[in-house]
Amino acid sequence: MADLTWRPAPRSRLTAASPPRSPKWRLLPSAVVLGVVAVTVLVVPLFVELNEQYVDLAIANRPPSAAHLFGTDELGRDVLLRCVYALRVSLTVGVVAAVISAVAGTAVGALAGSIGGWFDRIVMRVVDAIASVPHLLLGIVIVAILRPSLSAVIISIALTHWLTAARIVRSEVLSLRTRPFIDAAIMGGATRLQVMTRHLLPNVAPQVLLATTLMVPHAVWHETALSFLGLGLPPHAASIGNMINDAQRSLLIGGWWMSLAPGLLLIVTTLAVSGVSGVWRDRLNPKRRTELTW
């Protein structure tokens, strides 16, 4: 017979997702790190007369010490100082490329969303087609055509990253189009252009800005990868990718500090950027999952 004695239910650890901790926990450290990075990257090169290209073979390949916090590279250049300049270059590339791709994506997405019909269908198919090509490969092709240079890298990143912005803007515009205030504007005699610039674009602006900030780490990562492959910025320019590429050789003779510093700096900066924009996104659309992309 079945055992009918009462037994306590097994202790279970399966619980619903706990509510996310207060955004302060993410915002504060991220903002502080971002602030420090921004100040260092923007201000240090202005006020401190140190040459990041300064070569001193006498102190080449020194491990970290009090004088050189992250050591020196194979030409005796200070790794920390080069990191600051490298981050400056990488962030510039990232921000410029993100802004260009956001503008291009917004234009395409807004046009597709507001015109609709066969135009929308064709444009979105093209977006899907481009999205099927692995980003880095497409970037490599573009760099190969334009030859490795700063502008080639920026163009290659912009051309591969506008798809996200286009998709976001299109879907936002599609949902905004059905709202009463747009009907009201059209009834009030607004032209297509006026509806677009006065009513649609201002309403997608927050989403676009958010997408742009989230795109910056992506763009920086892309630049780093291209430079690492030798297809990015010119070899003498200090960028995170170039520094890690150079540091490969030194690894063989035990110079771990030359690749450690730029990598760590990049990780910390990326985490800070995504931390801040994650809090922002939760404010913007609280229903979205917070965990997946932080």
Binding site: L138, L252, G263
Partner: protein, 336 residues
């Protein structure tokens, strides 16, 4: 899971899977054509002339007849569409032209290297999946514990770390300092490749590729599991007094794995990108080296073929993910 719907439903499933596959193929073929044509136009628009490239400085001494002969043979002065058509008709029969930088037919270049890349990518992907499922489940199960926190924390950090930096770190520690494992290539010295030797050389690159891809899977599995813990069928299973491990493996994981299948297809481009970088770090004899060489030497025949091929793989991956989804979730299949 299709067993739950025997009879007509199964036949319906097969039919709608066929329909999904057809629809995907109907999208894939034009995409491949568009991508290859766009690459072709870009290559033609670039200021590089393959004939000048072929001669190099010798073009100064070369006789004009010979140059003209070569231009004629290669058809470089014909309209782009005619050239593209010629390329396409040859490509369909497996002739992808010659690689200028490596002085070999493109199909030979790819054929020599593709196997190594496929080996690296497939084993790395499988390991990333296993890691993602295991760690994601553990983290969701022990939500809020130190284990969960350290798993999710390291996932965020790994997401932010460039994969080649990770590769260099692993290379330095395990190959150069500890000397446990070989750090580059597939063989040591000049010995012929053997199964054991290749397996040993694979450990580091495969691990790096896997741990660079795993974070997305881990976080995704964790999030979906946590959501499924509040669903009726899971609460029902718990209220019947089933122990946690059965609830998780039998009830919660099953439903939360459905969206996971779509993620598999969506992650393919990143996987290919990651493989390119990992191969470069570990001097793996796959297609990465050839890709970079082709780009540096403006070798469009090779670069174009590689890009079109990677796009084809991505499209095929999406097709497979859709089919798997339809197989796993009869609702999708019945909807068509």
């Amino acid at each position: 899971m299709t067993n739950a719907h025997p009879g007509p439903a199964t036949r319906g499933t097969a039919r709608s899977i066929g329909r999904i596959a057809l629809r995907r193929l109907a999208f894939a073929v034009p995409v491949l054509l568009v991508v290859s044509f766009a690459l072709f136009v870009l290559a033609k628009a670039s200021p590089f002339d393959p004939v000048e490239r072929y001669f190099g400085v010798r073009i100064i001494g070369a006789s004009p007849e010979r140059v003209a002969q070569l231009r004629e043979n290669w058809g470089v002065d014909e309209p782009v569409v005619a050239q593209y058509w010629a390329w396409l008709t040859h490509a369909v029969t497996g002739d992808l032209g010659d690689s200028l930088s490596l002085q070999q037919p493109v199909s030979a270049v790819i054929g020599d290297r593709l196997g190594w890349t496929v080996l690296l990518v497939s084993v790395g992907f499988a390991l990333a999946l296993v890691l993602g499922l295991l760690l994601g489940t553990l983290a969701a199960w022990r939500q809020g514990s130190w284990l969960d926190r350290s798993i999710t924390g390291s996932c965020y950090a790994l997401e932010a770390a460039p994969v080649f930096w990770l590769g260099l770190a692993v290379l330095y520690v395990f190959a150069l300092q500890l000397r446990w494992l070989p750090g580059g290539g597939v063989t040591t010295g000049s010995e012929p490749p053997s199964v054991g030797g290749v397996a040993l050389h694979m450990v580091l690159p495969v691990t790096v590729l896997a741990i660079s891809q795993a974070p997305w899977f881990v976080l995704f599995v964790r999030q979906n599991l946590l959501e499924s813990f509040t669903q009726d069928h899971v609460i029902g299973a718990r209220s019947r007094g089933l122990p946690d491990h059965l609830v998780v493996s039998g009830h919660a994981l099953r439903t939360s794995l459905l969206p996971f299948l779509t993620l598999l297809g969506a992650r393919l481009p990143e996987l290919i990108t990651g493989a390119l970088l990992v191969e470069t770090v570990f001097s793996w004899p796959g297609i990465a080296r050839a890709t970079v060489e082709a780009a540096l030497n403006v070798d469009f025949a090779l670069l174009g073929a590689l890009t079109v091929m990677a796009t084809g793989v991505v499209l095929l991956g999406n097709l497979l993910a859709d089919v798997l989804y339809a197989l796993a979730d009869p609702r999708v299949a019945l909807d068509g």
